[in-house]
């Protein structure tokens, strides 16, 4: 990945992280808010692969944790895992599939919501599992609605050609 593209991704994810914590998190319907950051991360990971997905997720989570004065590393861990998985999915099963953004977004949303609850519970957080389960469908629907438009925008911004590993050498068996 070129430096320019890496910078583009960094700026994009940074801006989306800021917008997520300052704007989107407050738009709540049925207890859930649209997670634009997660959808963007999934799109980046699908287009750029698992390493980019994991690194982007880690840094985006760090921004969120810092901006929200949360436990440092908590969102990083979740988004690292989500970005890595989405990247691997894009590199393998979901490669070239039109439904890949939707499937990856839905799975990542469920994972981040439930994983976030588990980590929070481990750290003694006050959120009840009932509230999380009640908010989960709305969160999935929100993010699923965003999946295709965000994926298209991100592809337009960062392109999709670099993900395919170019053959550097040809091996002929004679």
């Amino acid at each position: 990945m070129s430096v320019g593209n890496g910078l583009k991704i960094a700026v994009l994810v940074f801006l989306v992280s800021i917008m997520q914590v300052s704007a989107f998190s407050s738009i709540r319907i049925d207890g859930a808010a649209p997670d634009l950051l997660l959808v963007t991360l999934v799109s980046v990971a699908l287009l750029r692969g698992s390493i980019t997905g994991a690194v982007t997720g880690f840094l985006a989570g760090l921004v969120v944790d810092v901006a929200t004065l949360g436990t440092l590393g908590l969102t990083s861990l979740l988004l690292t895992l989500a970005g890595y998985w989405a990247g691997r999915y894009g590199e393998t099963t979901g490669r070239g599939r039109p439904h890949a953004p939707l499937v990856a977004t839905v799975v990542a949303t469920v994972f981040v919501e439930l994983g976030g609850y588990c980590l929070d519970a481990l750290l003694g957080g006050p959120v009840g599992v009932r509230a999380v389960l009640l908010a989960l469908p709305a969160a999935v629907i929100w993010n699923a609605l965003l999946a295709y438009p965000v994926f298209a925008l991100v592809r337009k911004l960062i392109g999709s050609t670099e993900r395919v590993e170019r053959a550097r050498e040809v091996e002929l068996l004679v």
């Binding site: 940074f14 800021i18 917008m19 914590v21 300052s22 704007a23 989107f24 407050s26 738009i27 319907i29 698992s50 390493i51 994991a54 690194v55 880690f58 989570g61 921004v63 944790d65 810092v66 901006a67 004065l69 436990t71 440092l72 590393g73 908590l74 990083s76 861990l77 690292t80 895992l81 890595y84 980590l119 750290l123 590993e165 550097r168 050498e169 040809v170 091996e171 002929l172 004679v174």
Partner: protein
Amino acid sequence: MLGVNVRRPATGKPPSRTTSAFRRRVVFGGLVVLALILITVSFRKPDDGPVASAQSAATAVLRPFTIAGERVAQPFRDVYGWADSLLTARSDAKRLRAENAALRQQVIQNQFAANENDKLKALLAFRDGPRFPGDYTGLAASVIARPTGGFAQDVVVAVGSKDGVAVDAPVVTEDGFLGRVTRVYSHSARVTLLTDEQLAVSALDVKTAASGIVKHGRASASTLIFDRVPKKLEVSVGDTIVTAGWRSSKLASLYPRGIPIGRVTSVGQADTDLWKQVQVQPFADFDRVDAVLVLVRKKGANP
């Protein structure tokens, strides 16, 4: 194919796919471990230590961006809030209407309770005061029913024979005489008011001691007349009329002496009449009776 220049991998060098997988796992593992370390340190020392200091500094750096984001997002949030309020206005209005109805009902009930409380307090004050007849005990009771007929001058009170109430027991309010018990059940009793045509009570003018009978008036249900007052006796407007409570050798009035009935509002006499024509405005409000005192004669008291 012969003659083609072919590069072969050096012996011992791992293929590129393996290298890529290894690098991927190392990066991923490193990030996860780093995140876990951050969580541990941040959770253990959330307020001090190097991680907290770094987080504080980073927060200060991010602050302008979050403020800018907040300002940029504010108009959109306002639009969202407006649209959301439009969507939920109908259900909100329905919910608020139901709440309003419930609160209105509660206010009415509270008002009723407060009014009843005031009246019962006044009754108790009357019972414990000097105007209350000494030979009697006052049973405070709420009015629990009123006949539906417009001409019926009765009320039903929530005390009965189990409480010691008997037929003909006098009934008063804190304002004055009200009527007498005409029917008794175990836990309730019917009280016929003084405004009923069938009821009359012997009375006297406190000031002049002119005696007569107070009964319902012909002009209106709320006005009484002081009848059978001889012309030679003096009665003036403004005089107070009370129960006479007479007693002869064998008979006695049903009502104790001195219970206020009303005030004289007009006095007249015609040459052809035997008696004075005296109108009395009752002290008790017969149209708004909510609580009463039923007088029960004490054991051992003179009948």
